[in-house]
């Protein structure tokens, strides 16, 4: 038995061919591939989770802002002025949006105001109807769904992004001034 390992191509005690030389490279290839994928997956998930957290904070801030803004529409369709400002608040953290004098970056890369879904519910009935809640969401409804991209592109069907379709979302009860404009039609202002 002691001499056996000096001879090549000899079955060892476990019934395998002796010698380890050829296997090291294969093992390294397989091992490093697995390890690289595990690390890539961790970064991928982590970065998407981080972006989701930023979006979550953005919708909360925008819904909070909307809850304080004077509501002039008589219906659950907000005025275009308010819609634009809520969308800007979500994307840029500023109701005035990104301007030439005050250029701002979207909170998450590639997020646009078209991705922001702003919905209002009215409460009460008959002639006593007031704004009830202000909800801001990413994607869903009339908004364009937003794709949150990871760091690495998709490879062999491995998840590289997810679609924000109505989530994250935040709802605040209305706490501002309701000043309905009688010139607003049922379709909005």
């Amino acid at each position: 038995m002691k001499q056996n390992h000096l001879k090549q191509r000899q079955l060892d005690s476990r019934g395998r061919w002796g010698g380890r030389s050829g296997l090291a490279m294969v093992e390294f290839a397989v091992g490093s591939l697995v390890l690289t994928m595990v690390f890539a997956g961790t970064f991928q998930f982590g970065y998407m989770f981080y972006q989701y957290n930023l979006l979550e904070d953005a919708v909360v801030t925008a819904a909070h802002w909307a809850a304080q803004y004077t509501y002039v529409s008589t219906t659950s369709t907000p005025s275009t002025d308010m819609l634009t400002k809520v969308q800007n608040m979500t994307v840029y953290g500023d109701p005035n949006g990104s301007t030439s004098t005050n250029p701002l970056n979207p909170v998450v890369p590639n997020l646009t105001t078209a991705n922001v879904n702003f919905t209002v519910t009215m409460s009460g009935s008959g002639t006593q109807v007031v704004p009830g809640t202000m909800t801001v969401a990413i994607g869903g409804g009339s908004a364009t769904n937003f794709t949150v991209n990871g760091i690495f592109p998709s490879w062999h069907g491995i998840i590289a992004s997810f679609t924000a379709n109505g989530k994250p979302t935040a709802t605040y009860p209305f706490q501002g001034v309701y000043a309905p404009d009688p010139t607003c039609s049922a379709s909005g202002c």
């Binding site: 802002w65 500023d94 000043a179």
Partner: protein
Amino acid sequence: MQKIRSRRHITSGGNVLVESALILLAFFGLLIGTFDFGQFLYVHQSLVERVRYAARWAATSGAANGATADQVRNMVLYNQSTSPGSGTPTYFNLTASNVTVTYTTDTVCFTSGAQDSLFKRVTIQVSGYQYVILSPYISGTYTGPTITVDQPIYQDFSSPTTMCS
């Protein structure tokens, strides 16, 4: 036979040394890199939480008492609105110059007949914070990502009715 065995043993020993050196280098690189990344995430999230807390304070208690930008900055640095005096360590060694507090008042003129009004908000920004990285070859200090937190405060009802005319 004994001779051959011992020579083989020595050759193998050399390989093990080189192999261990390579593997340990990679292993400790990954290990320290993980520590660095974990520390970065921890400090970053701590700073974000502190800034959010300061923004909430500015919008509630601070707004009720007319807090200044300096007081909000102290909330970020020391978790209290008054400065505890020089020499007191700040949160993760932030410096006052890292923290920018801006009060913004948006004037809105409604064409619909609603009363023209002022909407106040606060923006806290932490920029230029230096993170320490210990990993070999990339060790040093790095400027972290800018943290921006916006917080609506209130609608200013005391605004004059003629401001938009």
